[in-house]
Symmetry: D2
Subunit: 349 residues, 4 copies
């Protein structure tokens, strides 16, 4: 089901090149006045950019609130927002060749050929637009409770950023449009993007995301622990194939005494290898995870595939301009997922 | 909520040292006769062992089916199974010192001190017992559809097993009680376990798990893609802190043409970097993921912590005998989660 | 939550005088081509009419499908439809007097005054518009399975129609826009409506609704029996205050031998006092219930109430033109609820 | 699914003559110490009695709490209770004749003959035992919020009790084991029960149930209004076929000015024809409904039916002793449903 949450229920709908896309948020607090500029800001962070990074879309992402909002406040009734697809271009998708590592083939089979194939239809990364919108609201609701969320580009190709301090009490200064802990890496990454674009290829990346200020007690032991709920949402972002909390896969090489976080009299821990979570429940330390993205599968290089209508072998080269890397703009979606997961679990208590 | 699934709904209950633990499975097919020997077998795989690996528990894991089962078949009504806690020893938990990297502190705060603290209470790894039981049933239901599940120890400390062939059509021969692709590694791992045990420590590990025979079309685009649902369940296993599908974090270093899987005329892909999933939907290739476990936090070495009742600083050394590594017995739980996730999503269609 | 169903999930949104209202249907079968004329027809049945029965609204109920629909078929992705509120007139609701027996007061308190008060906001009967739309689709999906739904005005004031034959295999001929088993009652009912309108009052009514062709086995023992699920939906229609299945309240005066339905060798029952349901599960006989509606609370007669802003006592007389009776146009909503309930439960199996 | 609620989730399991039955309650407040004597008391009210009213069962309803309970308090983990079926007598159900107006036939068809047929299996009225247990807890949680629940026998056969005063602020004095507003009716009802029993028949009944002290604001506009949620639960009680709130079916004969409840400056209403609910939301007045029960279908008189195994026509006379009327002991279940519905909706806010 195209839905997440029970306390704050997010339902998304729409296709990449359909009439419109959008979402319903059910469970927002009546009387809360969201800052629309902050929402715009998150949408901007998610938007494809000209220059080093770009896609073929020129959507302005204008939204229209159609319910649940009155006199500048949430009403308590379902809040619905719509994004019209001004730039939908059906003619681009007149043939029906399955793009490798996209959902074209599996959707065709799953939905017996009735799916909307244009631009990936409902499986398009464009569906992160309502998720980022919803996350921008969740972030504001969390901010009122003293919880802040940020992320940075942890790795692209062979370039690795410095990690967050796992015991930080404030985020380092970050450029929200291109966040790096070590700002000196930006030119190198831009150069990598440029060379990848010139080749018509794309490149993978890793982001690191954290929440500061979360109190002890968020999450439920089985099955709705914090990792489970965050993972459920983050893995819904197209392109995410890996996720680790705290020391993550690095735990395999550690012994117990290296892995455990000693508990201090103030209930904090001396280290934070657990990523702020014990037994699925937040422990008051920064909640930290890394998410790994595959290279954008839309590349201009020749690939082998099949024509879905005829079933016959063919090759394809994707034209237009595409993202060369899901980051940095994908960070807006990751942060949105963390915000939605935290707010959902906080609201259940 | 202590529940997973809507088509096949698994509800678990119980505490490590309470009267009993168990689960309800609601949505099992009426008339299906489960092979109880196969269930026993999975319970045995999960059981602590003497020798190189062990815990302090000597539970025999006898179960009692109390509803939804008649004449050897599921009835279609809720199926309930209970495991009595014959070996519960409350006196072991008379003090209330928070064990580092356990859920003791967070549960104490979250439940205002009303939680059952004995052995981690409801947050105990013992709760994987009903999960393995349920997974053993799901495995049988999947087997009827031609889907098989297996896993192996991919890494322990510095020792790494050979990976599964991502395009395999059959699993390699594996010893279910200590599965390794490269069997020659077993003595080295046992020796590592022995030395870790002697030190009173523990060690982390990684497992690799796969499903073969899954058809195209399992999973839903948003938010219930295969990765999301598998991750939700696998992250509910105590100790899991990392999860990656297919090339996983390795994607960061790949370019698009290295990452994409060319589609063949038979609808299979030439490679399987995607781990058998595109856009959250199974693509007919092996579904493959790796899960990373932290070292068991129960160690016999001295650690710093606090007394939950007084709030004062203290140290602790955990007595008794504990697992030195969650693997291999934790593999039963990982496979159970994969089986439950697949059966849930198949049943929704 | 403003949502119903798990197999076919209906989410509604919007307010009486907001920008738009609509719904998402998630779980529709990919490839099914709905007959839009049949949808239009149900919307027309629901629409206020000039003449003997009317409201102040002149909505044309034009709808716009914005997702999940491609080449005339459902795609399998969430299906979303929007109705713009062309005739919204905020100025009608400049004061804030709680209309007796409306939800004005309770919404004001529940949502701390942040609710949209115009025309009842989200609690308006106008929200039955997306429900009727969704029901028109469910009806078509049921028709493919041989299940038909119809209803008639069973009582208005002192006038009672003849009941359905509880063992019917076909519905009697009914005028869909003003359905009565005994057509001769129509002039009397119209005359009653006319006199009630002239007085500025309104009148209550009862409808009888049935489904024919439902196989044995729809519904689940606890807690999602057919009566439970039908009741859940029917009671969501504004104005419904009573519901009975089969002999209903009449059972109180019956003895066991008068109430039981003898079972025949063809698995039908000789009588149908049970209303087609045993133990929450359909038994193959007509599924029959009656729903009782209160008089429309919007009347032109003077009433006592309070001003919500000042809390002070006041009186009000509602101007404009209002329904004098929820029937016959409310029948479209009742049938929609039955269709949605049946399709939901059929789809779960 | 055999489950109700999202904030307080009740899952029931078990069969009439299986090993045991019981329930899980997930979402109870950690630290709350339930009064077990009050639970016992509700179980006693539900229990079949010797004398004028009786069944063939002699269950002592001993329960065993197996999880979620520690030091006399709820822990916040799932609370599970089990009732062993000490008196299960499988031999009573050696043949397989469908009892008219029971669920025997429909369960046989729905579950392909795999259902447990003994005593109605999972569809038995015995499943109200865990519901009453859960309701007894919900009542205590509501009492802490100042909400009280009671009910009485409103009608049996031709005998009608005086109704509750719809504007009452306290319940009239009621004998909990045989509650009547007009106590003088008791001998007549007992005499009726006696004559019905002698004939081997049974008789229908109506109960009236109310909650006092509920604040304004419980319930959600669509689809989880108070009537919807109460109806969902009450209709899950075997034997309930009718339900009306406030003036209920009587509204059909009323005009708007007779039906509306004038709003007073103290936010109460001058009358309470709405049964304490407007637009699905509690309005601060008593929440009042009537539920109609069919005669118990188990009668000692000869009835026509079929043998489920052979499909052939047969007759049956049910031996043993059965309830002649679901009331008064069914009142415990109705009150439990109201308590669970209210607590669920209160807890969602």
């Amino acid at each position: 089901m195209n839905q997440f949450g029970t306390a704050l229920r997010l339902s998304i709908f729409g296709e990449s090149h359909g009439a419109a896309l959008g979402c319903i948020l059910d469970g927002l607090p009546a009387g809360f006045a969201p800052d629309l500029a902050l929402i715009e800001y998150e949408l901007k962070r998610r938007r494809p950019r000209t220059g080093t990074e770009s896609t073929s879309r020129r959507e302005c992402d204008n939204y229209r609130i159609i319910s649940g909002f009155y006199n500048g406040c949430f009403t308590g009734a379902p809040f619905t927002v719509i994004f019209e697809n001004a730039d939908a271009r059906s003619e681009d998708y007149s043939n029906n060749i399955a793009r490798p590592s996209h959902a074209d083939l599996v959707s065709f089979v799953k939905f017996s050929g009735a799916n909307d194939p244009r631009g990936g239809g409902h499986s398009s990364g464009r569906l992160t637009l309502p998720i980022v919108f919803a996350g921008a609201i969740a972030k504001q609701l969390l901010a009122k409770k003293g919880i802040k969320i940020a992320s940075h580009i942890a790795a692209v190709g062979d370039i690795s950023d410095a990690p967050f301090d796992p015991c930080m009490t404030e985020f380092p200064e970050l450029d929200p449009m291109f966040p790096l802990v070590d700002k000196s890496l930006k030119p190198g990454i831009e150069k990598l993007f440029e060379s990848v674009r010139e080749r018509g290829s794309s490149v993978g990346a890793v982001c690191e995301c954290a929440a500061l200020g979360a109190p002890i007690g968020i999450g439920e032991p089985f099955f709705d622990g914090l990792e489970s709920v965050i993972a459920h949402l983050v893995y819904s972002i197209p392109g995410v194939h890996a996720l680790e909390f705290g020391a993550g896969f690095g735990f395999a090489r550690l012994f117990g005494e290296q892995a455990n976080d000693a508990i201090l009299p103030n209930k904090k821990t001396a280290t934070n290898r657990s990523g702020g979570i014990n037994g699925g429940i937040s422990n008051g330390m920064p909640i930290i995870f890394k998410a790994g993205f595959r290279p954008v599968p839309s590349i201009a290089l020749e690939q082998e595939s099949i024509d879905l209508d005829s079933g016959e072998k063919t090759t394809l080269k994707l034209g237009g301009r595409h993202d060369v890397c899901i980051l940095p703009r994908g960070l807006a979606a990751v942060e949105a997922c963390l915000a939605l997961a935290l707010y959902e679990l906080i609201s259940r208590k």
